[in-house]
């Protein structure tokens, strides 16, 4: 179990019956980890979200709330040296909320592309210039029991939920394999109808209906209006395969 500590302080300037202007500060002691167990890369994004419900409905692969009414209070690319440096979110204007529940997440915005020399390059997409996200592969809860709370706010029971894949956009197209070729011991699969916000991999199996080998490759992000080439080792006895979202 990763060792995380979240320092959270919430200060409110008015009683809860009204809108709650104030701010939230949080940071983590780290090391924070992605779902694959690797330490978070510098520049990675943390998000504070809010919901009037007991649980937050999740984020899409482009960082939008899945459930209407849920809010993304703020996102900040503050990962540094494996932890979240202190972040302050103002709870004013559109972010004024009453009651409900806040959640803090580490986002996995790593984007995998192929460089000119054919190697796969992993970069943290972080936030665009407009403060929006390009791709979110998964969200990782960084809250754990034992969170320190301020004297003005109480933390509820917190469970480490681990990583959860973000929701694909509702209108995400189903990818389509347009070509396949064998180069030495590798199989090159050309795929179209992909999205930059999603990573694609290959799943294989012994029959068309049982494709249970889901981690044949690390995956690549899609390309809007273009094609990507996924390269796998010869699938051997797992001779049926499809392209899936990683």
């Amino acid at each position: 179990m990763k060792k995380l500590a979240l320092m959270l302080t919430a200060v409110f300037a008015s009683i809860a019956a009204l809108a709650v202007p104030g701010y939230v500060i949080f940071s983590s002691e780290g090391p924070d980890q992605y779902a694959d167990g690797t330490t978070v890369l510098d520049g990675e994004v943390y998000a504070l979200v809010w919901t009037a419900n007991e649980t937050f409905g999740g984020l899409t692969a482009t960082g939008e709330p899945v459930v209407a009414g849920d809010k993304v209070i703020g996102m900040a690319a503050t990962a540094k040296d494996g932890r979240c440096t202190p972040v302050v979110y103002m709870l004013t204007g559109d972010n004024e909320v009453v009651g409900g529940n806040f959640f803090v997440y580490l986002l996995d915005t790593r984007v995998k592309t192929v460089a000119a020399d054919g190697t796969v390059v992993t970069n943290v997409a972080g936030l665009n210039g407009d403060g929006k996200l390009t791709a979110v592969n998964a969200v990782q809860s960084i809250a754990e029991p034992g969170i320190a709370t301020s004297t003005v706010a109480a933390a509820g029971t917190v469970n480490g939920a681990g990583s959860v894949a973000t929701a694909a956009p509702v209108d995400a197209p189903m990818p389509r394999i347009t070509a396949i070729e064998v180069v030495g011991a590798k199989v090159v699969v050309t795929v179209v109808d992909t999205l930059p916000c999603l990573q694609y991999g290959i799943t294989a199996g012994k029959t068309p209906s049982v494709l249970d080998q889901k981690d044949l490759i690390d995956g690549l992000n899609g390309v809007a209006g273009g094609e990507i080439k996924l390269v796998i080792d010869d699938p051997a006895e797992n001779r049926f395969f499809k392209v899936i979202r990683k």
């Binding site: 649980t55 806040f102 109480a154 929701a167």
Partner: protein, 245 residues
Amino acid sequence: MQIKGLLTIAALSASAIATAEVVSQNTMCRIEISGSEGQSNLIIAVPLNAAGGGNVKITDLVMTDNLEENDALIANVGGTYYSWVIKGGVWTAATTTDGDKEITSGDDAKAALSVGTGAWLVRKTPTNAAYLYGQVPTSGSKTTTMGLGTAEAPKYTLIGNPTTAAKAINGITWANANEGDQIAVPGTNGKAQTYIRRGPTAGGEAKWCKYVKGSGYVATEAKIAPGCGFWYISYGGTVAPTATW
């Protein structure tokens, strides 16, 4: 300052996030051609479509893995033979001679074969298995129609297993298969194994049978492997026989 609002941090339940499945529309498949290891002249089947759908070019279907320079593919399209050979590691259109007429195979359309078609793979040194690659057809059963011949003029039809699985010969649904018709399946020693359509010696409805010395005609339990083709030889009847896989 009195604060009544509670700021609660709770973790996300895994079930709270809806994740739509994103999966490709098509499924690809690799088939090891049964018997390809050790046989120089092999009848192969077309069991797959092109990536993206539609008839597959035989030069895309048969991988050049484990093949050598000058290994060849031969297909009969509309009664005409076309051929391709490996040059520089890739399939290259070749010229077929029919009497004094030369037939070129340069047109890609001539290389596109429908599922269920048979073709030949000719190899110089077949020391390793050969493979087919393509897209799994989405349609369900596949019916193959054979030519109708007579005892005096038998009709040979080259067909192939149109599926990605081995199929028992007597498990295939045959219609209008005339008693006396034969199928010739490539064997393991370069010789074809022939089965005849007739009632087994022990009695019962017509099956594909093999003659066994001392037992007479016995219904075969043999299977057509995926990727394999064979001959259907019609010796009579009034309606063209079909096989539904």
